[in-house]
Symmetry: C2
Subunit: 560 residues, 2 copies
Amino acid sequence: MTKLSPLQIERLKYQPKLPASLQNGVNSLSMVEGAATESVRDQEQIKALFSNTYGKPTVTFESSPVSKESEVRNVGVILSGGQAPGGHNVIAGLYDALKNANSSNKLYGFLGGPSGIIEGKYVEFDDEFINAYRNTGGFDIIGSGRTKLETEEQFEKSLAVCRKLNISAVVIIGGDDSNTNAALLAEWFVKHNAGIQVIGCPKTIDGDLKNEQIEISFGFDTATKTYAELIGNIERDANSAKKYWHFVKIMGRSASHVALEAALQTQPNITLISEEVQEKKMSLSSIIDYMTDIIVRRANAGKNFGIAVIPEGLIEFIPEMGSMISNLNDIMASLESDSEFVNATTIRDKFDIVENRLDTENAKVYKSLPALIKGQLLADRDPHGNVQVSKIETEKLLIEMISTKLAELKEEGTFIGKFSAQSHFFGYEGRCAFPSNFDADYCYSLGFNAFALISFGMTGYLSSVRNLTESADKWIAGGVPLTMMMNMEKRHGEMKPVIQKALVRLDGPVFKQLQDNREDWAMNDRYLFPGAIQYFGPSSVCDITTVTLQLERAKQLASV
Amino acid sequence: MTKLSPLQIERLKYQPKLPASLQNGVNSLSMVEGAATESVRDQEQIKALFSNTYGKPTVTFESSPVSKESEVRNVGVILSGGQAPGGHNVIAGLYDALKNANSSNKLYGFLGGPSGIIEGKYVEFDDEFINAYRNTGGFDIIGSGRTKLETEEQFEKSLAVCRKLNISAVVIIGGDDSNTNAALLAEWFVKHNAGIQVIGCPKTIDGDLKNEQIEISFGFDTATKTYAELIGNIERDANSAKKYWHFVKIMGRSASHVALEAALQTQPNITLISEEVQEKKMSLSSIIDYMTDIIVRRANAGKNFGIAVIPEGLIEFIPEMGSMISNLNDIMASLESDSEFVNATTIRDKFDIVENRLDTENAKVYKSLPALIKGQLLADRDPHGNVQVSKIETEKLLIEMISTKLAELKEEGTFIGKFSAQSHFFGYEGRCAFPSNFDADYCYSLGFNAFALISFGMTGYLSSVRNLTESADKWIAGGVPLTMMMNMEKRHGEMKPVIQKALVRLDGPVFKQLQDNREDWAMNDRYLFPGAIQYFGPSSVCDITTVTLQLERAKQLASV
């Protein structure tokens, strides 16, 4: 008998909420079609690539007084990419809808991500198995993986596996890339008359898979609340001890939604947003100046402490750093087969060689960095041989450069304070937390709704549950054609159809909230302490949604 | 109007629980004296140093049907040392008891730690001020500090400040060192007929201030639950992604209670305990061997992932490292005035100079370390010029040495897996969390009880609330003479009376629990996911105490 934590025992009993329309099961539904859709950009190209699945209407479900019979269906489900809280509930919702529609239905889980469907590795779910994972975090129920489903050969193997298991629909739970793959697979299955539907579910803690139809990706709510808990605790510590600056780097390689949301929940003194750095073409030294200015002004006010929140991907968004890293990626392959570089006796010699090989401007940038970061830029490479930006300790880079700058200011007599810094990186801490009530309900609804889309014969759709700032019974369930979110982008030198990533919009209401308060939060201590995620107790505490969702929905509703 | 988080708003309403004996206020109490006490060791010396406060009895409070009048009293309170969740509730309990006894009583808070009483910096508490801090984390209500109260001059200044405010009792909320200072101050006040009582309260997340009379220090419960939340989340991530080893360093410089408790709550694959390393005289290479063996065996079972929990202070407990660091401390002062060292052009030259100056065996140890750690050993020094062990990234040291070892084993063909590691350090994340229900109740009771001790004229006592695995109404309130916990120890070359630190006992029930399960947890994945601290909901979730407290109390009760 597996030992469980007290919270896990209680959470297994939680019954996630569903939109009113889904509460009587998928056999008592009617589907309302909206207008035909177009892709967000590059309509002609997307239409040509998805000739069988392009242009379909959005759909919405309504409960129907007429109950219909449901044919027997076998469905397969895949968890794809990085973990996000609530993935298990998507599967539980899918399972419950499927068994409720017809008890002879079967749900298969492909193991270890998309490779499971290619290699035919799977499990069949039953009540006992599913029940042990309800309302828990993690993707350990069937595991996840990062294999991309995109080649003809992979599609053929997937088809063979589905045929063997008599599977007529596949649900892919993933982010923008995985759902791009879902769209390709859906198109391929239709084109080859496979009779297999494909439905996606919007997952990612990064929050960058969203648009007019998808208000939020699942996991963002729980992950940001976990990071906000930790930042709030650290703020309280900083404000008690009054002797450290804490530099907190937050997961999020491209979009800064996570850092922005965590900042709005905690109101730290400094928040950097990658999209702003890029749009304003801020140099590393202008970022250092911005941060140093706040540190100096706080020191002058007697406050030698504070909190800075930094998005993980920042470094690539700083134009000159992005350029230098790209140049470094170009020369690394040749360097690694260069005997002078390989046999250099000290790391310092390696730095010199790199500086000699980089273009003049990029060499200057590289030269200006602290040794720790120069070393990290050379140390870890991804499978393509590129610099692993996630391994660069940007928080330490900033601390070191600010320390140097402050030492100069101290010499000049314009800085009279102390600067002692602690660095933190939060990412893995939040990806597998127990899903918040919101994520538990939202994910269960997404999975349940995925089966509704299947039962109406849809393919190439993303499960969509909207109106999320209202109580769950008022949520609107339906589907959005995956092609609607796509455009053409360059990937590995080739133009490819992909789902458009939603970056932080500098003209949006969420960034505005930061911008309007930044100076106040910098100098005055407006720290907010969200505390740990609560699953029980007052609804004001355990059912709140993210600030991002609230502000974006308010704007969307105001514009209707 | 200050903006508050939803949890903060709800927690301000929480009414902490009190032992039954205290529920009618301190005017309806009787005090029962136990037998006279002796110090834990060095009785003659302690008695000589504390001739006025030594040998007093332990005391226990019982509710009395007779209600007495309470004279007017002004009390001062100090928060001393590092933050621990619940400090605000100690002050709230003290305030409520004091105002309930006589509404003319006043409570002063000394600002910024012990320096507040010396420099006469204070605030007077009122309802509105106190109410804003009830059940919150942090020490920001009056701030804390690390000034030691121990010199004649400091005592005289403190006396003058107390006289000015007509203060007749001081409550010091702190760890072992701060309570040692409380004992000295109490003795000094009696000796000088000051008419000022001193009461201590047992604070520290480290959990090393405990003994027969003090079952737990406050803050340990909340801090360990916060770290366990994060470790559990990371375990779930590791078990989902199945590609990383996570090395998690946990705050705790000397005792490993925090790492041990967090491990018992989460059951990771590897847990190191400093006390064990010291007692078994484990060398760095034997620790690397122990960890590598588990990593290899898991890899052979197809598991290239896992979790290792490492106590912050580990490095000093490894005999050869402790010796090398001590040698380094001895030579650093001379090195820093040595022009060859100061003017060395590269860090590598500095390493060579250090190796030349260290004793042979210590030089070998230093030489064997990765450059990152060699640098950290030279970089940061504490105010005494000693190596700042808390800045040494032990988790990265272990990762690097294990990587090297695994590369050798791979060459030999005895390791066929992959080893990719992530490092984490958790400390500041847990010191200022909202106190758990246990810490909220315990702290409030400690503060309330401190005023009971004051009202009975006691001095040199530690506020004691026991029987803590029972519901709060069955808790036993009383006091323990501070001298009872003391012995003589060498500090800065001199023998001093100090409160004995409670280290992890290798023959105790808590370590035994780890030891009995270690091999099972190493190879099988028995991960437990405690999740976030819950303040509402089922009692099984929101009122649980630590495993350490449960096991130690069970043993204590069994031995009665």
